[in-house]
Symmetry: C2
């Protein structure tokens, strides 16, 4: 029998009607002869409402208690979903993260899955039940405490269940039709991607594509889980995120894959420039060791050509805006030790990333990208490249225009505009 894991986000189960609609969808999958395991998020904005409540009580909620609080959200949605399915005449049972054997480390608020022991889920499946699991939550074996996986955690729950249960596919239901070549809200002619490798998906997710959480894609890639990202509002085929079998010659096995998978943008980062760094070996390492201690996720790094006259150079890097202040403070405290002149902070930047497995063997991609931006009159402030991604930083207010220009230049435009729904699940 085929085993399908399905994940439904908060926007799909935002009210009783949504829950009943999702229940029907699950039952259809069951009726088609599949075993079904469902990971579900909290209803609509209920997680944010619980967070607000916590902040009404105290400005800095204790992490253990915050996890206890937030896990109430999925408890509500999963119980309602299970009773909706039962009312349609199919057996269904809901399980919390700990009941489902979702074992994590003890890092409250952003716990990582260390093991999945779905004993009770297998029993329930063997007894013919549809299994509903609370997304986003887990359990630490040592402290015996409830944990949460952080934002996007429900996607990760679904993928981890698919891996542990050796599911045939993991369907991620969302409010868009799949993964697009760019954000349809910015680029109206964005096309739905039919198939994309998990590596490319990872780069798109890291570059600001919000349809899938990066941790979930990493988990799917590491455990060989095939994802199907699709809409919960229609029955259209969505986007398959797959792990290509390595070909014997080390080449791409799917030669028909498009060279460029998509282009993403991100306005959540800021640029920090360390001005006047002595151009001697080890200084960059010194700086990024200091930044790393603040747990900041450094993305792009650019070091200017050193001035021969002064023997000084500038080093710029981007971090999420939320982590900018901590990085600045840490660097500022180390100014004398490192010996730089000053710090600059710029949160009016936009990042654009062009992603495609094909570009590693195609030298003209960078040139085409820079040419497209130049023709659109957009100034490039930073550039960084990886095997399958080229990222550039522009002014924040020109990134949307940049996105459209690049999308067109790489022949990604569809013939007609996509239908866009609002909201995203967690």
């Amino acid at each position: 029998m085929t085993l399908i894991v399905q994940k439904f986000g908060g926007s799909s189960v935002s009210d009783a009607e949504g829950i009943k609609r999702v229940a029907k969808r699950i039952v259809e999958t069951r009726k088609a002869g599949n075993d079904v395991v469902v990971a579900v998020s909290a209803m609509g904005d209920s997680t944010d409402e619980l967070l607000d409540l916590a902040h009404e009580v105290t400005p800095i909620p204790a992490p253990r208690e915050l996890d206890m609080l937030l896990t109430a959200g999925e408890r509500i949605s999963m119980a309602l979903l299970a009773m909706a399915i039962k009312s349609l005449g199919h057996d269904a049972r809901s399980f919390t993260g700990s009941q489902a054997g979702m074992i994590t480390d003890a890092h409250h608020g952003s716990a990582r899955i260390v093991d999945v022991t779905p004993v009770r889920l297998r029993e329930a499946l063997d007894e013919g039940a549809i299994v509903i699991v609370a997304g986003f939550q887990g359990f630490n074996r040592d402290t015996k405490d409830i944990t949460t996986l952080g934002r996007g955690g429900s996607d990760t729950t679904a993928v981890a269940l698919a891996a542990a249960l050796d599911a045939d596919i993991c369907e991620i239901y969302t409010d868009v039709d799949g993964v697009f070549t760019s954000d349809p809200r910015v680029v109206p002619l964005a096309r739905k991607i039919d198939r994309i490798t998990s590596e490319e998906m990872l780069e798109l997710a890291a570059s600001g594509a919000k349809v899938l959480h990066i941790r979930a894609v990493e988990y799917a890639r590491r455990h060989g889980v095939t994802l199907h990202v699709r809409s919960s509002f229609n029955n259209n085929e969505g986007t398959i995120v797959y792990n290509p079998a390595p070909s014997p010659e080390g080449e791409e096995s799917n030669v028909e894959d498009p060279i460029i998978a998509g282009v993403a943008s991100d306005l959540s980062e800021a640029k920090i420039t360390v001005v006047g760094v002595p151009d001697v070996p080890g200084k960059a390492a010194e700086i990024f060791t200091i930044v790393a201690r603040t747990d900041a996720n450094v993305d792009m790094i650019v070091q200017n050509v050193s001035s021969a006259a002064t023997g000084l150079t500038d080093i710029s890097f981007t971090v999420p805006k939320s982590q900018g202040q901590a990085a600045l403070t840490a660097l500022s405290n180390a100014q004398a030790e490192v010996g730089f002149e000053s710090l600059q902070y710029d949160d009016q930047i936009g990042k654009l990333a062009l992603v495609g497995a094909g570009m590693r063997t195609n030298a003209g991609v960078s040139a085409k990208l820079f040419d497209a931006l130049n023709k659109a009159g957009i100034n490039i402030e930073m550039i960084s490249t990886s095997e399958i991604r080229i990222s550039v930083v522009t002014r924040a207010d020109s990134v949307n225009e940049a996105l459209r220009a690049v999308h067109t230049a790489f022949d990604l435009d569809a013939e007609q505009a996509a239908v866009v729904h609002g909201g995203t699940g967690r």
Copy 2:
């Protein structure tokens, strides 16, 4: 060190302000040098809101899933309460019913406690933490499923914790100042009772006094737990519910106890009369065996004097209105077998109960009660007596007047009217 168990109902923790107020109160108890374990209900009306949501999804929610759903309520309040206490600089940890070792049978929606194994609570207390436990919920060891104890369950949770942890006292915080000689909303001159035996409290609770749930009083009585019912809105001493030590001579050990503890009323019952029952041995047993199979809680039973002419008698009894239809149907189906003539159903009755341990040795109590009702022009339809209770049934619309008349007749009136708050916890 003294160990105090405190229970706070939904009306005490209905919003962030309430939670902060309760947290301060708990911290005061801790600062006074006590170990503190708290049982807390869901916030305000949140349990009813979750129930409404379930009924939007399906008219008959699956019991296992309904329990999973409803237990989210206490999860929210207990986590918020723990974080509020932590923000006041005291260690606090919240525990679900299953984490607290609240083991129940598998009867979803009205599970009974079969064991309490508070291992984690003891550990937390030993480490100096204030312990917060979700009221109303438990866990079945065989099915490994979450259960709820039914309405009033949080009182029972508190008492069960007090018994299992051998607490010195169990404080039940509510929105009134304690147990009153009658309902202050009906009898303005009702007096707060300073001390009452658990036996009397049991009769008052069974007779409609809503301040304490009858199951909690039963549990306290069986396990020798002393209760202190008091207001969460002030620091006044409330009512002590105690278990008197049996005196060697078998007499009341507290001769100074008032003869009459209080007078309660109840409008939630209906009267069923089985008309024309053959007056032969075994007929009453037959009737109540049939009724018992519907799980109805029969309270008062009155059998009329048989008519010598017909050899027939009438049997009347009261049941909660919610169980009336099931009892009627069961009896109706058995009409031929039992051989009665007809059934009458009357849901316009009120029940008044006079409770007091002293009345067993005081023959004049019944006479005084009937005289008071007679003078007030109130007709008595049924009478039943026990060792410490006399109950009468009147028309529903005269029970409040009856309450006031009896309260005055037994010298229970205070010199001035009590202050009444609204709402009750669960």
